[in-house]
Symmetry: C2
């Protein structure tokens, strides 16, 4: 049988199963993302072994997550971020430090030749720090989808989660970049930091140039044209590529800032609706399924299984505690602090990307990859469930300002109604 057309079948299967399982999880009041992840797990080598990752699936998944982050950037209200910036920064900072220490600690206990053998090429200390770095990641997309489905995005807690998640991303990327730079003895730390600084200067220059050109040429053009959507996509892809290849920053960071730059224009709503179609009809089912497909539950020793269980618990608790404490310090109620902490649990694609990078840089032994994938899957599945619980506890404070951070999300919400 001709196998060169298998990608058509793979795509049909991914679209069908993510949607069917998504609708099934929606039936039992869980977000559709959980169904999409489960579809990947079931289809992949971990279960029925029908699908395996291919170049096509990998590349489309990568573009899928880039488009998701691009949309997240477009839908971010910069003015509101500036206002809620201080609180978000503190929540993110403590929410990064506590999981980092948690990961480091559990690494110290388990990362011994007598318990779990590691084939990492770096020192055990650096490997343990790296495990901590993986735990700092936050994948806000699942939380955003869940809050949107529940209609809780425009709450004080929802607002804080969005702001903190953005800063968390930036902190995580800085930490990742610094630690990976230790793996290569030839790379100088100063150069790495300079590159990160260079990226933000680059983004700043692009933002100023963009605003200048836009104001000059397009501010009075009301109609949304094909070319605007295509040029926006090109802009997003180029910033992703340049960030990754020239500045050593994750491509999704570039995509996010591309969206952030465009968010100031009048045409965001038109663009968001177009990229929403591209995303739900093609790219994001592939991305979510691909996470599940990547999981390979190889034969794990007892110590590795115990490590996986403890790591998962640590991953969940450290985010709730870290972000919760940060929120309490910033004057949020205990309920809200719990909601914020819960909203930050999901590690999703970010942790996988970080772990992947670490493994190829010799910072993470193969034995640790399985447990980390389990952490990602469980935290991603559990976040929507826990979010539903903690938002049921009591009444939530809605955001009074019409300029809330969630605003953009609610506005484009009608495109997503009736998934």
């Amino acid at each position: 049988m001709d196998t060169s057309y298998n990608f058509l079948f793979d795509l049909a299967l991914i679209l069908l199963c993510t949607k069917l399982l998504g609708l099934a999880t929606k039936r039992v009041n869980m977000p559709q993302v959980v169904g999409a992840l489960l579809a990947g797990l079931l289809l992949g080598p971990a279960c029925f072994k029908i699908l395996k990752t291919t170049t096509f699936i990998n590349n489309c998944a990568e573009i899928g997550v880039i488009v998701l982050m691009f949309c997240a950037g477009m839908e971010t209200d910069i003015d509101e971020l500036k206002k809620s910036g201080k609180a978000s920064f503190l929540i993110a900072l403590i929410g990064v430090i506590v999981p980092l220490l948690g990961g480091l600690g559990i690494g110290f206990i388990f990362n011994k030749p007598s318990l779990i053998e590691s084939n990492a090429t770096c020192t055990p200390l650096l490997e343990n720090i790296f495990i901590g770095i993986i735990l700092t990641a936050t994948s806000v997309s699942i939380t955003v989808e869940t809050l949107k489905e529940m209609g809780k995005l425009k709450t004080q807690a929802g607002n804080a989660i969005l702001g903190a998640a953005i800063i968390d991303d930036i902190l995580g990327i800085i930490a990742l970049t610094i630690v990976t730079s230790f793996a290569d003895p030839n790379v100088k730390i100063g150069l790495v930091l300079l590159k990160i600084l260079g990226f933000f200067v680059f983004i700043g220059v692009i933002a100023v140039a963009f605003t200048f050109i836009y104001k000059k040429k397009y501010v009075n053009v009301k109609k949304g044209l094909h070319r605007h959507a295509i040029l926006a996509f090109v802009f997003c892809l180029l910033l992703s590529y340049i960030g990754e290849v020239f500045f050593g920053v994750a491509d999704i960071t570039g995509a996010f800032f591309a969206g952030l730059i465009i968010s100031s224009t009048q045409r965001t709503k038109f663009l968001a609706s177009k990229f929403d179609t591209l995303s739900y009809l093609f790219l994001s089912p592939i991305f979510f399924a691909s996470i599940g497909i990547k999981v390979e539950l190889k034969s794990m020793s007892v110590a590795v299984v115990i490590f996986a269980v403890v790591l998962t618990i640590i991953a969940i608790l450290t985010k709730i505690v870290g972000c919760g404490v940060g929120a309490k310090i910033c004057g949020y109620t205990t309920k809200e602090a719990l909601q914020i902490g819960t909203g930050m649990i999901s590690r999703g694609e970010v942790a996988l990307i970080v772990a992947n990078k670490g493994q190829s840089a010799g910072l993470l032994g193969d034995n640790f990859l399985g447990p980390i994938v389990i952490v990602v899957v469980i935290t991603t599945i559990i976040t929507p469930i826990l979010l539903k619980l903690v938002f049921k506890i009591g009444p939530v404070r809605q955001v009074s300002s019409s300029n809330s951070l969630g605003q953009g999300y609610e506005e484009i919400d009608h495109y997503r109604v009736g998934n």
Copy 2:
């Protein structure tokens, strides 16, 4: 430098260049498809050698052409086709036979190892027939746009062109299906014909089942939901895959019939708008560019250049003569017959789709792809120019009926305004 992110750069470059060159060709009153093709030619090994085909580009291009054919199927008005059927059928039939013979004839002359070496895996006869089949294609979209601009779409000639173009598509697909089935030399002819028959029976069964289920469950659901678009996509992909793998029929044939089956539902407009976005924002630029990228003009010997020139002349003349004779037989005036024939010259994306299919099936040597791209580009550029000339000759008969065939095209026009 990390090359694993090159697909992002490739995609950005394809989107940017196809759009910029598309807008440039539009400026000089030529269709944007020409610009998109030129972009691929310029970026590919034929010119600047910046891009080469990758698995990612190939797979996305394949899905792109599947979606194009799916949309073409959805936009076909079966009822209207039945009404104007007889005249349109005769025009289309003679307009298919004459170019087929023309292509076959010129193939006989040029397709010899002493003139043009072919690396096709089939017999020279089959390859020559395939060249003929490519010449049978008609891309009506360029003619429709030109006639609309001139205000001549609702003329007798305009009506005949539309009807004939649709039937031309179907005849072309049947011819393509039969010829591609013969590509494998080990296959028995009886079995091939049985498989093709089986495919049409299969499509018939699916169509009946679809109509039954649709009427039972969905006929009263007016709202267009995400799941409908996704399920329609799954339907299209599965029919493409099943057609190709189990019946040996081109995947685009499956996609076209999937669209034709869906065209009878109330939700076609909603679906068409969603797939239009997916197409213009991501898939179809990759498809059109990929055709150009596949062309290697360096390998064009003098014989190939002469072949390209003669093939272009044959392509233009055979359509004018074939369709013109058909129109005369059906009682159109000589002027109208000339107008109808001229309106069918453009080969556009349809010929590219067919050529692409033939090349990957081993029915068309690499040396013939360049000349065919040249035929497509020249016939596409020349059609609007010739149409303007032949419609200037004298007064035209307007269509009195408000139910003219052009109606459907006018309705879906708002999706395409402002490219």
